[in-house]
C-alpha cells in the first residue's frame, strides 16, 4: 500500500531551506524593514478599496511584491515539508500521518475560535497571518513528534 500523493524525501530538505528564507523575508516585511520592494503594476481581481462586491471588477494597481513573495515561499515550503515521504514510509507512518492531519484540523479550528474571541485590533492582523500557515505548522509539529515517539521506542522482543 503505497501513498502515491507524497513527494520524494528530498523535498523535506528543500522545504526547510525555503521555509527559513520565506520566514526571514516575512518577518522583515511584518516588522516594516522592507516595503514596496519591486513595485510594479499587478492584476487585482477585487478592487482593494471597494470591498468584496465593489464596483470596478478587474483592476490594475501598483503594489510591492514582498507580501506575495513571502506568503508563496512559506506556503510552498510548508507544503513540501508536510508532503515529503519519509525514507522508511510504510502503512504505519501513513496511519500516523492521517491521524496528525485530523488532529491538526481540530486544533486549527480551536485556534481560530480562540483567536477570534481573544485577539482584537491590529494584533488580529498578525494572528491572521499566522493562521494562513497554522494548519501546516500544527501538522508538522504533531507528525514529527509522533515519529520521534515511534522511533525512540527501541525495546526488542
Amino acid at each position: 500500500m503505497k501513498s502515491n500523493y507524497l513527494f520524494s524525501p528530498v523535498f523535506k530538505k528543500i522545504g526547510w531551506i525555503l521555509f527559513v528564507i520565506g520566514a526571514c523575508f516575512m518577518t522583515l516585511y511584518l516588522c516594516g524593514v522592507i516595503h514596496d520592494l519591486l513595485p510594479c503594476t499587478v492584476f487585482s481581481i477585487i478592487p482593494a478599496s471597494d470591498g468584496f462586491f465593489g464596483k470596478g471588477g478587474f483592476l490594475l494597481r501598483n503594489d510591492g511584491w514582498e507580501d506575495e513573495i513571502s506568503i508563496i515561499l512559506v506556503s510552498v515550503a510548508l507544503l513540501c515539508i508536510s508532503f515529503a515521504r519519509e525514507k522508511d514510509e510504510d502503512e504505519y507512518i501513513s496511519h500516523l500521518r492521517l491521524e496528525s492531519w485530523i488532529w491538526s484540523i481540530l486544533a486549527n479550528t480551536i485556534l481560530l475560535i480562540a483567536g477570534t474571541l481573544f485577539v482584537y485590533g491590529f494584533l488580529f492582523m498578525y494572528f491572521a497571518w499566522f493562521y494562513f500557515f497554522s494548519l501546516f505548522l500544527l501538522f508538522i509539529c504533531r507528525f514529527y513528534y509522533e515519529l520521534y515517539k515511534m522511533r525512540r521506542n527501541k525495546d526488542e522482543e
Binding site: D88, D90, E91, Y92, M150, N153, E156, E157
Partner: protein, 68 residues
C-alpha cells in the same frame, strides 16, 4: 483485534527486524502491531500470515469489542 505475532515469531525464530524486512515495513510497525497499538491492513496481515505459513485467523483474532 488480538494477534499472536510474538509467539509465531518465536516458533519461526525470527526477530522483529527480520519479520519487518520480510514483509517490507519498519521494525517499529511490527512492534506497534504486536503491542496492539496498530491494526495492520489486509495486505500486510496476509503477508505476515504468508511468512508464518499459517491461516490468517490463526494469527489475528477478533475481540468482542470489534463487533460493537
Amino acid at each position: 483485534m488480538k494477534n499472536n505475532i510474538k509467539v509465531q515469531r518465536a516458533i519461526k525464530n525470527l526477530t522483529q527486524e527480520q519479520l519487518a524486512h520480510l514483509v517490507n515495513v519498519s521494525r517499529q510497525t511490527i512492534m506497534a502491531i504486536e503491542k496492539e497499538k496498530y491494526v495492520p491492513s489486509t495486505v500486510l496481515s496476509l503477508k505476515i500470515a504468508a511468512v508464518f505459513e499459517k491461516p490468517l485467523d490463526e494469527i489475528f483474532q477478533l475481540e468482542d469489542s470489534d463487533w460493537q
